[in-house]
Point group: C2
Chain length 341, copies 2
C-alpha cells in the first residue's frame, strides 16, 4: 500500500455529522503536523478546526495530498464529491481515500489523475494471501478496544493506550484495523474490506506472535450488537485473542448510529455488552477480561461527568475515563496492578 | 454467474475426509441426475458411490463438466490438482470450482481452457453492489439452519426443509449461501466470499421482502463458536432475521472440524449453542426461536440412535431428527403447531 504524502488538505464534502467525519477528525487529532487545511462543500456541518482552503489556495500553501475525511456507511464515493476530487487531482494533488469503492473506478477522477500524473491511493486495500484463522494461541499480549456502537472512540482509545504504554517504557504497538488508523499509523489491515471467510485470519496476521511482554493494542471495529457490522466485530475479537479489553461508549447516544431513534436498535447496557464480548473472547483466551471503560463525554455537561463516571464504575467495577479529557492512565494502572497480582 | 452444464464428473482429488468432500457429496445427494462419474487421485479416502472414471472415459460417457467436489479450508487450489484440472480442460470439460481462488488465475488451467475453448466457472463469486445491512424488519418468514460446527448438515437440512414445506403446499424457497448449495439450486450468494463489511447486507439481499406466508429457508454457515468462521455466522444470522432456527449437530464430533483433538475447541453443548444464537437473533427478531434439532447420526451405532434423540430432546425440548434417516416432518409439524397456536 502506498503511503500518503503530507502536507494534506482534509476533504469534508457535505458531511452532516461528526460520526461520519471521523477519518478527517482522527487524522487532525493524531497527525496535526500533516494537516494544513480543510475543504468543505455547501451543507457541510463539520469543522475540523483547520483553515478553510480552496484547491488553489491549498496548492499555493504547498499541499501534496487531498485526504477524503468522511467515512459514509457503505464506502461509496458520492456523486456530489466527484467533481471536487477530479478538480483536485487535475490541479496536482494526490487523492487519498478510505472508501470501499476504488478511486480509479470513478472515470472522471481516473482521467484527471492520468492527466496530471498524481497518485490515487486507496487505503482500504487488504493484503493478499490472508490465511483462514486458526484460533491457535500465540505468544505476546493483546489489548482490544470494543464498543457499544460504531464511532464511539475505539481507535482514539487504542492510540491513547499505545502512547501511555510507551510512555511507561512498555513494548507496545498500535494495530490499525480501519482506514483512519492506517492513515495515522502508516500500517495495518482494513478488516472490514477483507473477504469474510478471512476476518479472524486477518486479525491473526495483523497481530502475529510476539515477545511475551509485548502488547499489541488492537483497534476494534463496529459492535457485536450492531446488525450491520457485528460479523466484522466477532471475527476480529476471535482473531485478536485479547488478554485485555477496553469498552468504548458514547453515553449521549441512545440508538445505534445510522438506525432510527425509537427504532429497534437501542444501545445495549454496558454490562450486557461486556458479558457478550467476554462470552466470545473466552472461546479463544480463557484469561480475557475487561480492564477499563472509555467514554466520550463531549456531549455531556461537565457538571454531570463525575456522576456519570461513578455510575459506570459502579455498574462495571472498572476504571472509567474520557481519554481526551483524562488520558488513559487509570486503565493502564489497572492493567499493571492486575498483571502484578 | 454462469450455470454448470451437466452431466458432471465429480473430482475428489486426494481428499482425506467426508467433511471436506461435502461439495461433491452434496451435489451427488441432491442432483444425482447431474453426476455420472467420479475422479479420485491416489490417496483419496472418499467414495461418492459413482463409477470411477478417467477423463477420457468421462468424455466418452458424454460428460460436459468437471466439478471440483472438495472444499478445503482457505479455498485454494492445491498444486497436486492442477495438472488433473488442466488435463480435463484441455480434453474439453468445463471446470466448475467453488474455491476462493479463481481458476483463471492458475496459469496452466487458464492456458488449457483457452486452448480448448471450455468455460472456467467460479461459483464463489458474490454479486456486485451488495448494500450494508440495515437490520430493518422485512415481511415474509425466514428459517435459518445453524450449527455447532462447520459441515454438520446445515445445507442438507435446509434443502430437506424446503422439500418438506413444498410437499405440504407451502410457499418456500431454499436460499443457498455456499458453493454447493449454489451448484444444487442454481442461485444464491456465497456469503463467505463477500467483503466483510457487507455480510449482513448480503443476507438481506439473498432473502428480500416477500409475501407474509412465504418461507425463505436459509442455508447457515460455520458456527458462532468457531474461531475461523464465526464472523460469517453472526453476519448471516443478523441479516437473515430468522423467525425460526434449526440446530444442526454431529454428535460423533468432540472437537471443531480442523482443530486438534484435545485442543482448545471442544464442540459447545447444544443448550449453550442455542442460547448464544438466540441472544444474537433476538437483536433483529424478537420472535426468533428454535423449532428443531437436526443430527447427523451416520457415525452413531443404530441401537444408540433413539437414546441419543431422547437425550437431546430432553436437553433442548425440541423435536430431533436425522434428516437423511427420518426426514424433517417432525420439525415442520412443530413449526406448524406453533404457528397455529
Amino acid at each position: 500500500m502506498e503511503r500518503l504524502q503530507p502536507p494534506c488538505l482534509i476533504y469534508f464534502g457535505d458531511v452532516a455529522d461528526l460520526g461520519h467525519a471521523k477519518t478527517g477528525l482522527g487524522l487532525i487529532q493524531w497527525r496535526s503536523e500533516f494537516c494544513v487545511g480543510q475543504l468543505r462543500a455547501p451543507g457541510c456541518q463539520v469543522d475540523g478546526g483547520l483553515r478553510d482552503m480552496t484547491i488553489d489556495e491549498a496548492i499555493a500553501a504547498g499541499v501534496r495530498s487531498l485526504v477524503i475525511g468522511v467515512a459514509p456507511a457503505g464506502g461509496n464515493i458520492p456523486e456530489t464529491w466527484r467533481s471536487d476530487l477530479a478538480r483536485a487531482a487535475r490541479a496536482g494533488l494526490d487523492i487519498v481515500s478510505g472508501m470501499h469503492a476504488r478511486l480509479a473506478d470513478v472515470p472522471e477522477i481516473a482521467a484527471a489523475a492520468r492527466e496530471s500524473g498524481v497518485r490515487l491511493i486507496d487505503i482500504r486495500t487488504p493484503p493478499k494471501n490472508i490465511p483462514i484463522g486458526t484460533g491457535a494461541k500465540r505468544p505476546g499480549k493483546r489489548l482490544l478496544t470494543v464498543g457499544t456502537d460504531c464511532a464511539v472512540g475505539k481507535k482514539y482509545t487504542a492510540l491513547a493506550i499505545e502512547r501511555e504504554m510507551r510512555s511507561r517504557g512498555w513494548n507496545a504497538d498500535f494495530r490499525a484495523t480501519g482506514q483512519t488508523g492506517i492513515m495515522i499509523s502508516g500500517g495495518g489491515i482494513p478488516i472490514d474490506s477483507v473477504v469474510s471467510d478471512f476476518i479472524s485470519g486477518a486479525a491473526e496476521m495483523l497481530s502475529p506472535a510476539a515477545a511475551d511482554d509485548h502488547w499489541d493494542v488492537i483497534e476494534g471495529q463496529g459492535s457485536l450488537s450492531h446488525p450491520s457490522f457485528a460479523g466484522v466485530s466477532l471475527g476480529l475479537l476471535h482473531g485478536a485473542q485479547p488478554d485485555a479489553l477496553v469498552l468504548c461508549h458514547d453515553p449521549s447516544r441512545k440508538f445505534l448510529l445510522g438506525t432510527e431513534p425509537g427504532g429497534s436498535f437501542p444501545i445495549l447496557p454496558l454490562t450486557q455488552t461486556i458479558e457478550q464480548c467476554l462470552a466470545h473472547a473466552w472461546r479463544v483466551n480463557a484469561n480475557a477480561r475487561f480492564v477499563g471503560v472509555s467514554v466520550n463525554t463531549s456531549r455531556i455537561p461537565s457538571e454531570e461527568r463525575m456522576r456519570l463516571y461513578e455510575k459506570i464504575a459502579r455498574e462495571t467495577d472498572l476504571p472509567v475515563v474520557d481519554p481526551i479529557k483524562d488520558g488513559v492512565e487509570a486503565i493502564i494502572d489497572n492493567l499493571s496492578s492486575e498483571a502484578a497480582s
